[in-house]
C-alpha cells in the first residue's frame, strides 16, 4: 500500500505550465494542496462524480497540455459512467489517477464498494480506456507516475493507498477565485 501524500507528491513533482490538474473533492484535493497549491490545479469542494467529466472537457479544450484528474474511489464510483465517454472519445492527453483506500474518507471512513470487489481499473478497461494499471507498492510508484504524466492516453491508474488520515491542507474554497486563477494562468 502506498502513502497517499508521498504518492501525490510524486505525481505532481516538477510540474510546470503544461500540467493541468483536477482534484476530486475531499482528501485528494487536500493531497494535491499539500503537494503545493498551484494556479493550474482546480480542486473540487463538491460536484461529486464530476472530476472525470471536468477533466474530459478540459482535455478536449487544451489538447497540447497534459490533463491529470486526481480523485478518490468514492468520487469515482459516483461518476463511473463518465469513463465510458473517456473511452469512447479517447483524448490522448488525459490521465485519471484514483487514490483508492476503499473508504469514503470525508464522511467518516465508511467502506466503499472497491473494498467489496469493484475493480476500478477493470471498469476503466472495459469502458474502452486503453492504458490501465493498478499499483499498490512503492517500488512501482515511478511506473505509475510515468503513465500518468507522459504515456499516450487516455490513461487510468488506481493507486492502492493506506487508509491513514493526514493533516487537513485545504485549498482555497472560493470557486470564482479558483476558476479565475486557473484561466488566467492558462491564458484563456
Amino acid at each position: 500500500m502506498l502513502d497517499r501524500r508521498a504518492a501525490v507528491r510524486a505525481l505532481l513533482n516538477n510540474r510546470g505550465g503544461d500540467l493541468l490538474v483536477v482534484a476530486g473533492l475531499g482528501a485528494p484535493a487536500w493531497d494535491c494542496t499539500a503537494a503545493g497549491d498551484h494556479d493550474l490545479t482546480f480542486p473540487l469542494w463538491g460536484a461529486m462524480g464530476g472530476a472525470v467529466p471536468i477533466g474530459l472537457g478540459l482535455a478536449i479544450a487544451q489538447p497540447d497540455k497534459r490533463v491529470l484528474v486526481v480523485t478518490g474511489d468514492g468520487e469515482m464510483l459516483m461518476g463511473l459512467g463518465s469513463l465510458t465517454a473517456v473511452g469512447a472519445h479517447k483524448p490522448a492527453n488525459l490521465a485519471i489517477v484514483v487514490l483508492d483506500n476503499e473508504r469514503y474518507g470525508e464522511t467518516g471512513m465508511q467502506r466503499t464498494n472497491t473494498g467489496r470487489g469493484t475493480n476500478l481499473a477493470a471498469v476503466a478497461k472495459a469502458s474502452g480506456i486503453p492504458v490501465v494499471a493498478t499499483v499498490g507498492s512503492p517500488a512501482r510508484l515511478g511506473e505509475a507516475v510515468s503513465l500518468a504524466r507522459s504515456a499516450r492516453g487516455p490513461v487510468f491508474v488506481t493507486l492502492k493507498i493506506e487508509s491513514a488520515m493526514h493533516d487537513l491542507v485545504l485549498p482555497p474554497r472560493d470557486g470564482v477565485q479558483l476558476t479565475g486563477r486557473f484561466r488566467t494562468a492558462l491564458g484563456v
Binding site: 471536468i54 472537457g57 479544450a61 459512467g81 470557486g175 476558476t179
Partner: protein, 184 residues
C-alpha cells in the same frame, strides 16, 4: 406557430447549429432525445465541434465546466427528464461563477403519450430555478436559433447560466408503434 412560417424558417435544428457556430461553441455534451436527433446530426457534421455522448446528464454539465476552464465554450443538450439528474452538478458552475448554456427538449407536456415523462417534465422550471439557471422557453421553431444565440451570448459574455427550453409542440410528439403522433 403560424401559417406564415415557411418550412425553411421552421428548421430549428439548422438554425440552432448556425447559432453554435456563431457563438464558437466547440463541445457539445449530450444525452440524445428524439427531438434532438437532427440537431445533433447537423452539429456532428460541422468541423471543430467535439460531440460527446455522455452516460448521464450531470456529466454534460461537468464537461461544459471543464471546457470553460480550458478556454472553450460548450453546450449541454438533453431531454427534460435529464434535468432531474443534474441539480447537484449545477452547483459547480453556480458556485464557480462559470457560464453554462443548456438546450432542453421537453417531454411530458400536453399530448405526451408516456405518463412517466410528466413528473420530471413538470418540475423542470422549479429544478432549474432552484439551482440558479435562467429558463427561456421557445414555442415557435422559427425562434429557436435566435433564442440559442441570445442565450449563448448572455451566458458566455456575462458568466450566466441559461437554459433554452424547446416546447414539446415545437419538436413533435413521440408515439409508440403507431400510437399517438409521429416522431419528429
Amino acid at each position: 406557430m403560424t401559417d406564415s412560417v415557411s418550412p425553411a424558417a421552421a428548421d430549428w435544428s439548422a438554425d440552432a447549429v448556425a447559432a453554435l457556430r456563431a457563438l464558437d461553441v466547440r463541445q457539445v455534451a449530450y444525452v440524445p432525445d428524439a427531438g434532438l436527433t437532427r440537431f445533433l446530426e447537423l452539429a456532428a457534421a460541422e468541423d471543430g465541434i467535439a460531440m460527446i455522448s455522455v452516460a448521464t446528464e450531470e456529466d454534460a454539465i461537468a464537461q461544459c465546466c471543464g471546457a470553460w476552464l480550458g478556454g472553450q465554450r460548450a453546450l449541454a443538450a438533453m431531454q427534460s427528464s435529464g434535468v432531474g439528474n443534474i441539480p447537484n452538478m449545477l452547483s459547480l458552475p453556480r458556485v464557480c461563477g462559470m457560464p453554462l448554456l443548456m438546450l432542453v427538449t421537453m417531454r411530458g407536456e400536453p399530448g405526451e403519450t408516456n405518463p412517466w415523462q410528466k413528473s420530471t417534465g413538470r418540475a423542470v422550471p422549479a429544478l432549474l430555478d432552484a439551482m440558479g439557471v435562467e429558463l427561456r422557453r421557445v414555442e415557435d421553431p422559427a425562434g429557436a436559433g435566435s433564442a440559442l444565440a441570445a442565450a449563448g451570448a448572455d451566458a458566455f459574455e456575462e458568466d450566466r447560466r441559461i437554459c433554452v427550453q424547446l416546447a414539446q409542440s415545437l419538436i413533435g410528439f413521440k408515439g409508440f408503434h403507431g400510437e399517438g403522433e409521429s416522431d419528429a
